[in-house]
Structure formats: C-alpha cells, structure tokens
Subunit: 597 residues, 2 copies
Amino acid sequence: MKLTPLIKATMAFAVTAALPLVASANDELLKLQQDSKQWVIPAGNYSSTRYSELSQITKDNVKNLQVAWTFSTGVLRGHEGGPLVLGDTMYIHTPFPNVVFALDLNDSGRVIWKYEPKQDPDTIPVMCCDTVNRGLAYADGKIFLHQADTTLVALDAKTGKEIWKTVDNDPKKGATGTDAPLVVKDKVLIGISGGEFGVRGYLAAYNISDGKLAWRAYSMGPDSDTLLDPDKTTNLGKPVGKDSGTATWQGDQWKIGGGTTWGWYSYDPQLNLVYYGSGNPSTWNPKQRPGDNRWSMTVFARDADTGMAKWVYQMTPHDEWDFDGVNEMILADVDVGGTTHKALVHFDRNGFGYTIDRVNGALLVAEKYDPAVNWATHVDMKTGRPEVVSQYSTDQNGEDVNSKGICPAALGSKDQQPAAYSPKTKLFYVPTNHVCMDYEPFRVSYTAGQPYVGATLSMYPAPGGTNLGNFIAWDAGTGKIKWSDPEPFSVWSGALATAGDVVFYGTLEGYIKAVDPDSGKELWRFKTPSGIIGNINTYEHNGKQYIAVLSGVGGWAGIGLAAGLTEDTAGLGAVGAYKALSNYTQLGGVLTVFALP
Amino acid sequence: MKLTPLIKATMAFAVTAALPLVASANDELLKLQQDSKQWVIPAGNYSSTRYSELSQITKDNVKNLQVAWTFSTGVLRGHEGGPLVLGDTMYIHTPFPNVVFALDLNDSGRVIWKYEPKQDPDTIPVMCCDTVNRGLAYADGKIFLHQADTTLVALDAKTGKEIWKTVDNDPKKGATGTDAPLVVKDKVLIGISGGEFGVRGYLAAYNISDGKLAWRAYSMGPDSDTLLDPDKTTNLGKPVGKDSGTATWQGDQWKIGGGTTWGWYSYDPQLNLVYYGSGNPSTWNPKQRPGDNRWSMTVFARDADTGMAKWVYQMTPHDEWDFDGVNEMILADVDVGGTTHKALVHFDRNGFGYTIDRVNGALLVAEKYDPAVNWATHVDMKTGRPEVVSQYSTDQNGEDVNSKGICPAALGSKDQQPAAYSPKTKLFYVPTNHVCMDYEPFRVSYTAGQPYVGATLSMYPAPGGTNLGNFIAWDAGTGKIKWSDPEPFSVWSGALATAGDVVFYGTLEGYIKAVDPDSGKELWRFKTPSGIIGNINTYEHNGKQYIAVLSGVGGWAGIGLAAGLTEDTAGLGAVGAYKALSNYTQLGGVLTVFALP
C-alpha cells in the first residue's frame, strides 16, 4: 500500500495539458455514445442512464422478440457487466480468467480475436463475492480491461494485441480488479476491490496513451492521498477541513480502512466531474473502528483532470452493516419541488435512494426505495446523517451479539447491478433486493491478504413474503416508488430503458424480461441458459435493433452456486437465502442476442 | 479383465424366464417409442432411425423456427448425445462428471431433480477423446446412466434417487463408460470404451430390476467369452467355427485386443436381435498384432435374452487405421436390386456404407460414402473383405514409416454421430468427415491403464478443398450419394429426419441447420452457444412440436478446444486439422429448445 511517493509524482504530472491526440479520443467517445447504434460505455453513456434512443423494439412488438444468435464464453461462474458494440464488432469479457472476445456482428459472433490474460489462480480466493468482472472500456482504438489480478491492460481493438499493461495493486494483499474502467478524456479510470481484506480504496487514472499513472485519489488518508482540498472540497456545502480522511479514524486504522471503489463511475463533461462511491470501512466489526470512518461510504465528485475532489457526501457514517456506497451514480435533470436540478441519483446499498445536486453536492431527496428498510428511520436532510435504529445497530448491540432482523441485508436493497433512467418517463428503473439479515460482529485482526471481515451473517427474505427482490420504478423528485414488480430472487442484473417504451431486466433464474415503463406490466420473457447477473444492452446493426445480455449465474447472490458453497452463513451470509436458485438454473456463461423477426 | 467366472454364472441366469413386471417394462418402452410426442430412446427408436412422425415443423415454416428456452448444464467440454422426453419431463446429461437433470417442460426447464455422481477425476485422463457421454436410457420408471468410471446407475425417474448401481469395469485399467445404455426387455445393455488402453470390449446386459449382470459377450476370446456358437453363429452365411475369437490372434494378444463397444445399439423386437459394432483392435500398430484380429471391427447380431450371436461380419479385418466399427446400425426396409430386405444400414469409420440383411448377415451393398476414401478400392462382395491399397497399408509400409495421404483419417468418414433415416424419402442423412491423415505406427508395450496406441497421426482436409465435412443423403439400396452439402468442419452431430420433410443437423461451429430432405438445400440455421456434437431430437408438448439439442464443442474432433491441446499431432492426431474451430466457438454446455412462434 506504499504508493504515496508515486502519487505525489503523478499529481504533478496530472496538471500538464492533455495532448491533442488524446483530446480527440475523448471527442470520439463523446460522439460515439451519442450514437444509439453503438454501445461504447458499460453504462451506455457518461451519465450512466442505461437509456437508448433506439425504438424499433416497442412495447407493442417486444412480445415477438426472439433469439438472433448466441455465444458461449467457455467460462463458467458469474458473468456481470455487458457487451460493448462498436460498428461491426462486439466486445465481451468473462469472469476470471477475464477472457476478452471481439465478435463479428456480420457473422453471428465469429471470433475476430480472443485475449486471455495469464493470471495466478491464487487470485480467486481473495475475490470476496465471485470471480466477476464488470466489463470493458473503449477509447482511441483501444479496449481496456481491468484484470482480477489488478493489471490494467490496453488492447488494440482491431487485433487484440497488447499495447500496454500496468500492474495497479497486489492480490497477495487482497486487492483485486472487478470493475469496468471508464475512459474520460486522456485517462482511463479504475477502482479497486478488497474491502473484505482491509484494502484501502482509491480511484486511479492512467494515461490511455502509455499506461502511466496520472493520479490516484484514496478514499481515506491524509489530504495528499485523498486529493481533498481542506478549504475547497465541500461536504454538504461546507469545507471538509484538514485531513478529514484520517480525523475520524482511530490511529492508523485508515491504512487498512477499506472504502474500496469497485462499482461504477459517471462523468459530467460540462462540469468535468467524475462521480463514484466508496465502499464499506474495514473491518465489518464496527466496534473495532470507532468514528465516522470518512470517506468510506461516500459519494465523490472529482475533477477529471486532477482527481481533486469538488465535493463529498458520506451516506453511511460509521457503517455497521456493510452498506457499500459503490452503486452507480445516474446523472439526470430532476425536478425537486418545482426546481430542476442537475442531479445525481443513487440507489445505495443502505436502502435509501438519494437525489443530490451534482454541481455542489447538496442533498435534495433521501428516501427508502424498499419499504422493508428498518436500520434507520430516515435521513436528516440538514446533517445528511441517517437516524439509526438502536435495535438494528450492530455497534450498539456489541461484539458477539447477533443483531436480528436488520433490513436490508449486507448486500443492500440494491447491489452494483445498475439501474436505468428514461428521460421519456422521468422514472428510474431499479433492480432491487428484498432481503434482511442477522449480523453478529466479532473481533478480528488484520493480516495482509487474509479475510478481514469480523462478522457472521445470515440472510433471508424480508418479512411478509418469500420474494427476495423487486424490480421497481422510482420517482427521484419525490422519492417514491411508482410501481414494484416482485421477483422470487434478488434482481441482480442491470436494467435497460429504451425510447421504444420498453424496460428490460434479467433475473437470477435466467429470465430476461421486458416490462411496460409506466406500469411494470410484463410484456415478454425468455429463459436464457443461466441466471442473469449481467447488464442488458442494446445496439443497432445493419438497420436492426438488437438486445444483448450475458447470462451466467453468480455474484454475491449466486455465490453458493458459483463456488459450490452450501453452509447458510457462507458467502458472507448469502448462501442460505438463495439456496432454491439451483432449482432453476446452473452455472453458465453465454451471450444471448435478441431481435425482432 | 478377469470377469469370465462371473459371465459363466450369469449366462445360466440369463436363460430363466423374464418376470411379468419386466415384460411390461419392455411393452411400455415399445409403446412409448411409437408415440412421436416422446423421445424415450437415444436414437428415437429401437431401429435407430432418428426419424419422427411429428410434422408441425415443415420445410415451408422451418424458417420461422425460434428459440423457446435454454438451459446451461453448468459443465463445459463436449456434450454428445441428446435429451430424452417423457411426458412433461426432459432428461439431459453432461460430460464428466455426468450430471443428470430432470427438467420441467411446463416451466421452461425448471430443475425437478439433479443427480451428480461422485467420480474420481483421475478417470478423465483415460478418456481418449474427450470426457463425453452419449446419453441416458429410460425404462420401468428408471433412468439409466453409464458413468465415465463405468458405474451403471438406475435412478428413480421421478425423484432422481439411486435405485441401484453397479460397477462394470475399472478406469485404472483404462476402461471407461461413454455410451448411452439401451434397454431391451428386462435388461439394460452397455458397452465399454478404452480401445486405446488395450481394454477388451464386450456388450454387457444387466437386469433393470436389480442391476445384476445377466450376460456379457466379449468381442474376442474363447467362445465362452464371445458367446459365439461355433456351429450356429454365422459369418456371411457360414458357421464361424470353434474359438474364432482367438484363432486370428497371436498368442494371448486377444486379452488386450480392444474391439471395444462404445457406440450405439439397435434392436429388432421381431427377430429379438441386438445389433452393434466393435472397435479397433489394440494396439494401433498393426505390425504388432498379425492376423485378422477377430472380432474387432465387427457387426454383431445377438439374441437379446442370452447374448448369443446369431451372425457376425468383420468389416475391417486386421485394422491398420483405427477404423472402429462402433457406428450406429440403422434398421430399415431397403430395396436392393428389386428385393426388399429387412436391412441394417451402417456407415462405417472405414468410409464404406454397408447394407446388410439383418436376418442372416448377408452383405447386400458396400460402397464408399465419401469419394475421398482411398485405403481400399472396394469390398469384395463374396468374401466381404476390403481390397486394401498397398500405398495406404500402414502394415505393409511398416513400423516407423509415415504412410501419407490415407483417406479417411482415423476418425473415419464418419464417427459415432448417428445418421437419420426417413421412410418417406427412403434416404439416409449422414453427418460425415472429409478428412485424411498421415499415420506412423510404432512399437508399444502394454501396461494396464497406460495408453496403448502405438501410432502418431496428423489429419487434414481431403484433397481438392478445405472442407473437413459433408452432410450427405445416401441411397442404401444402390450405395450412392444423392446429395452432399459441404461443411467447413466435420459434421459431428447426430441428424434428425421428420415427417414434416425437414432434416436437421448441427455443426462444429455451433449452427443447427435445417435442410430439404430431397435436395439438401438449407432452409434455416441458428448459431447455438457452442459447437454442436450432440444429437438433435424432437418432441411434442402441449400440442406444440419442439426441436432440442445440446451444444458444447468437444469430442475427438473438438479435443483441441476441449482439453486445451495445441500440438498438431495431439488428440490422436486431430488437433491440427480443427485448429480454426476456435475462431468460431468456445467451450459450452447448453441445451437449446426451438419451436415455431
């Protein structure tokens, strides 16, 4: 973790002007993402709306959707993320060993090239929640892959040949790569996984031209590490003050403090700000780390060129439940109380749906998007702090006490599976979990590369039913659920909204479903080979709209199946709740592409 | 291999009368296979025609065929065989570890039960040509599985619970199970794999009620082992004479003589005869085993109750090319020169299509079904012997001499992938290879459980083109190709013919194709997740006709992909020829079910 000298060096580098070549790469990416025929960014666009202007597939004809072609990746276990499409080529990726394929759309997915990194299989055991990878990034003729072993590699998009690669961190210390990179201007951004191993999180920016580190901004640590300006970086409108990233930690605990950054990154080109969230503070035993544990569980808005934070907002100070804040930040114009804001909408693991002014970080709305949420009564809109319910405070209940009936469970009312936003309906379509838990913290000591969890969990459906998930429509202006479709299992797939007035999502049993954006009424479903934890994308090719999704059950919810675990409390408490999943699906790894006849 | 005392004991047992319960199991199976809505026998029926009376899907509407649902088996590598369908349930199987699933047809393949045998992974290295399994058998409320480790298990078809299991042989000696069992009356028949390990082949019959061995009939050995009657068993009309299964071997070589029986078994209920073929003599170095090596490479007609052979016919005496005789025997009425015969039609690895009178074993037609075949000029219709061309005789050329340009290659003009026969067109639809080889025999010594191959091979497309396969229509009465559709790779999938005037087959790239039975014209194609080496089946459910196929590339042709081999001569010479396959497909294991909209 001794990367500080490197950071200092590269901070200086970061202020140099972008090269002309590189600026054009950014222009290309901006232009490409405005062309709905392509799908060039994991979330569809910098705003992470997962919305497409394509409208051939409509709510009237979606019932006729059929499979156009399929492609097995040759890898089993959880397939998160989704394909990129550029022109005649589709790029897909797999879980460990993170194979990348370029597939020919003119020939039913013939393999143009295949890239298979050589990675040490010892990386697998330090991947907390399946061997997932959330996807690729494209820019400047390159495909970027963040490997499980933290290597960031740039491949020639035409040939698959390595252009450069750089090792970002060390799996032997529990650090792994699971996220999809995001290219902004001349840099490719990646985060890090490993909050269950005491890894200290950061967002790192590498030059797309040569793979040199431009800047690295930690979630916690001194200001030189966090790239927080004591005076200029604000928290709900106030300056954060000096060394805010160490002040709420006991001693040096921030060095193994978590706050990892394995989710999604959004970007506002006008504001030149990158948005993302940090994860749980390490360990999961809150008694061991008194204080607010800043800036774990925090939304960051950072300057894309320098990494300096413009504002921060900590959603869950002093986490007691593993409510990582890494879920996607969706950038949209949202009307709150009659005023339209340049907003950031975020469905946090903690069960609150946040609407935040993305210019200044002002908190506009914070409401529960699952009625089961009980760990806090509400969020105080002045302080931004949740009002914690004592009964569900694992810190107040103490070590070796099993706090029962906490909602949501550690995997949240929603995990990383990204929601979609339709500017037509002005609604957010959110894949959710409806799961509660018992949580018993215990004392744990830190050893590099060893689990640093410190809690035993078990999970089960929220009271009053057996369904473990809902797919919901959310009004971010009022903080209200518009409609809610119950699902037997958590919805662990990313959603897609389209101008054809259809919203798509996948289920853990393996169904891809199309629903009416206004009512949630099911319009169509199809059983793919395996459970879907991938994100549904769309593109147009030769004048025809396609829908594409990776199936392959796994992820945290599917870890029992993926890793062959059977103990109820295994898989960080998830295995018990999802046992019935094996009655519906088995491991897989298949791309399925749909089109109208 | 010392099973002889057991055989003797069970031979006595075999002559006792069948129990009434057991007779009804046979009646049920006869009745079920006449109901086209079901698919209760791997080959569709006892005659192995792979023909269905279902006619909803026609040559006019097949272009509208679409995917109804899919199911990932959770296992990669080669998926041979195909599903069974009984009522509302589909039964599928996987390669090693030979998982069996019962899937609910009323709920898009929900898992009713799953059976996963515990098998020693050390079995995998003794499986010569991928970890394949060719399917399940049904009778009397039981599903029968012949595991890789040679265990034969009877499962309760409703629950998947083991009813009985019995260990047939020993993988430590190179013996493995890859075949689909066939139930005939009160017995379930299995063969054995391991010709590349000097395993001595046999057909074994176990009682379906309790798993006790009823009889075992070896391919070679004394008459008490082979169940050949010196006087009554005939070879082209003449009695075979005493100990014909040892007389053409040097010394005790028959004990490690191969003649394994890993293909398909057919049955004629009127004649009460079971038909099947035996494989290559061991070793592949012909110099080491002078003589005809009877009864390797032989078609057997055996009494289903006793195992006693009625007739035999050796297609390739003293094999010099690994032309196993295990391919399916299709029972059909065939007009030869104006006379209709109860015939057996067999497309042998050696490249000859045989039409044989199945009552008495008389040879009616023996013609090349791939024009590339060059190792023999013709079959002498009097002696039944092929006229070997010296240039391609690996025995005449001798040890450590590379005989070049032999056609077909060791994997034959066709391997185990079964052909179909349509009584409407009276044509046979045959998946074929169009591959030649260089073959260099060398001296090898036998060690139990170690490879006993004794030849180095390399394979390549037949001269004059690059295509490695053809899908052909064959007139078995005249021995002529009616039409031939070239394919870039060997056609390694089983075919299906239907009363709807459509013929289906799969390709190694992963396409399932429908063609016109009269012209071979392609009517429809769809790219399944992985290369198809499974057999295409059809059934009707709730009034709708379905087509089902397992994709999952592998088998001998796909062994390079399946086992990650790259050396051209690896995989018994197959790897080099099929290298380009990875440009089209990757490992998989997915059931795809099709229907009209």
